[in-house]
Symmetry: C2
Subunit: 195 residues, 2 copies
């Protein structure tokens, strides 16, 4: 009897700092009736990088051009690296997207106005989007924590990689710029689920 | 018969961007006869962070205050993270300290003058300094590549961690700020050699 070794190969996407906005905040920042417009599509179906950008201001530093990702969401959320957090003077927790209770707020400035939110800044927990079919084939459950090897001359095994399973998802692993730089990987490289 | 499991625990030091200078460059930057003065000692015997700092200028960006580490060396060498490299507009290779052939140069400005070197910018390969006694006890050879687990909620196994063994060294693992941020570890935390 022989066992087939299954290589679980996953494309890697390195996320630079970005922000998700509510429609209400889009209109405060860009004017009444304003809508996000698509700059380019992202790996997840229906998601896009918008043409619109905002400036963000923390207690210690700022970033003049932060990309907005669309479509709009139920809550405004800024996702930054720990390197960015030091530059802004914030100490955001490591969180799954959408879980923003108790996180720091931030001042956001658009071309037509500004808004200061009292929460919403996170360092995003690394995760893999699995389509339901990928997850079934590989025996992976939603919320499972995985280990994923990436990188060449700076190889890293990322632990605590959160599996997120949905029939709306396309297979993709999301890490931030600190994680990408630590492993010398870029968007378009591949990782392998090792456990 | 039983085998003792040996836990190989190593203190972690997260290195921010820094520069090593030749005595000749110290005098160009800070004046004839100038010497580096000690701000605080580092983990390796005889090494120190200097009070003196320089500004560095890349093709795209600059850093106004880069710490000099002493004592002076035979070659000037700037060690930066990949995040820093993007900000400066440079593409330095991943290198062991001292191996600077074919690396990018950089403009360095001090309080009394400036110098532009034609090589010396590296992203330092992660490594562990072992005292000869630590290496002997754990069966580790100079130049061996190790795997080291660090971090809590953002656990990472760093592969290709270079062992450097000398009776002049104190046990310490050196990673850069991208690697520290990717694993949520700070100087004073510990890693464990797992392979």
């Amino acid at each position: 009897m022989s066992e087939t070794i299954q290589i679980k190969r996953v494309p890697v996407g390195v996320s630079a700092r970005h922000i998700h906005l509510t429609q209400e905040h889009v209109e405060i920042l860009f004017g009444a009736g304003a809508k996000l417009t698509e700059f380019k599509p992202l790996s997840q179906p229906g998601q896009f990088a918008a043409n619109e950008m905002v400036a963000i201001f923390g207690p210690k530093g700022s970033f003049p051009k932060v990309r907005i990702l669309g479509p709009t969401r139920k809550a405004t959320q800024l996702e930054i690296s720990r390197t960015d957090a030091f530059a802004l003077g914030l100490q955001p927790p490591l969180r799954e997207s959408g879980n923003i209770e108790g996180t720091p707020g931030i001042r956001i400035v658009g071309s037509a106005g500004e808004v200061t939110v009292d929460k919403g800044v996170i360092v995003a927990a690394r995760h893999i989007h699995f389509n339901t079919s990928d997850a079934a084939r590989w025996g992976i459950a939603d919320k499972q924590l995985l280990k994923v090897r990436v990188g060449g001359d700076r190889g890293v095994v990322f632990e605590q990689v959160l599996a997120r399973v949905s029939d709306q998802f396309a297979l993709d692993m999301h890490i931030d710029t600190d994680e990408g730089n630590a492993a010398n990987v870029c968007t378009g490289d591949f990782g392998e689920i090792v456990e």
